[in-house]
Amino acid sequence: MSAAAEVYVPKLGALTALTGTPTHYCAGCEHGTLTRLIAKAIDELEIRERTVMVSSVGCSVLAHEYLNVDAVQAPHGRAPAVMAGIKRVRPDLLTFAVQGDGDAASIGLLELLYAANRGEPITVFLVNNAIYGMTGGQMAPTTPIGMVTTTSPSGRDATSTGPPIDATRLVAGFERPAYVKRVFLPIAPTPIPRVYNARGALEGAASVRHAFEVQERGGFAFVEFVSTCSVNWKLGILDAKRYAADVLRPLFPPGVYRDRFGVEGR
């Protein structure tokens, strides 16, 4: 490696904000992708030594094993409240949480919406894969109508459970949030077979950075990452990406829903 290493200069490489611990995420999962996007932003903004992440409950429960920052565990759904507690006594720190759709849009919806309404200077990353992943594929608040899960074996039926919850629109419905964005994170199919684009990851990288910058300026930042869960959707990895593009992207339209500080496009 040594000879080659001298010949090549890294453009992209190791990150201080990653511990190096291999992840428990399933193959092809956007949780892993997002983990590196967060680490990259933390490195670029040089905020690692004053960042406290709040671990939520769900597939992201072990994110503190991978991100090389201080961490506090929140009860299921309460990550925004724990972050508010941190920021209220230590406004000099940065805090963020990676929440799943069950954590943020079901059991923790109150904590999310009240933090948004108060405009807490915190950063919430929501990984919306439309299912309870960690517990093995139960119906989530964001599960599309008709999707078969272990607790909606005939497909989600709106007459019984209501339609999917759109957390981004709910958050954007409040006055105080400064940055609300939805990113379609998976690689996306193109008209050419077996050719996918990586626009979501690139856009996600910028959005993560923006979300931290907005917090630094005292604003509430929320980014939803529409994602996949091939294992619990019982689809192949690339089939899951296509399903996400066909079904979830229209249901949860990507876009900038709020940008009070004008961080987009800078």
Binding site: Y8, L12, P22, G32, T33
Partner: protein, 84 residues
Amino acid sequence: MTLERPSGPDRFRVVVDAERCKGCELCVVVCPPRNLRLTRAFNRGGYHPVEFSFHGERGDCTGCGLCYWVCPDFAIAEVGARRP
């Protein structure tokens, strides 16, 4: 990081940490010149890891870094540019 324009053969390369790879193929299908492909070997996790070649089905590595950004397992350890 700003670099002078790399030159010569094999201007860019991707370093794969094969032991971290879970063989999900995301890098394979986003790589425009197809410089990454699944191998038939097994790593310790029981996955077929990807390997990098300078010359893909559709051309040479351009150092675009898409593989790095999409990889969920930090198995694309580095994207490097040859010193001029």
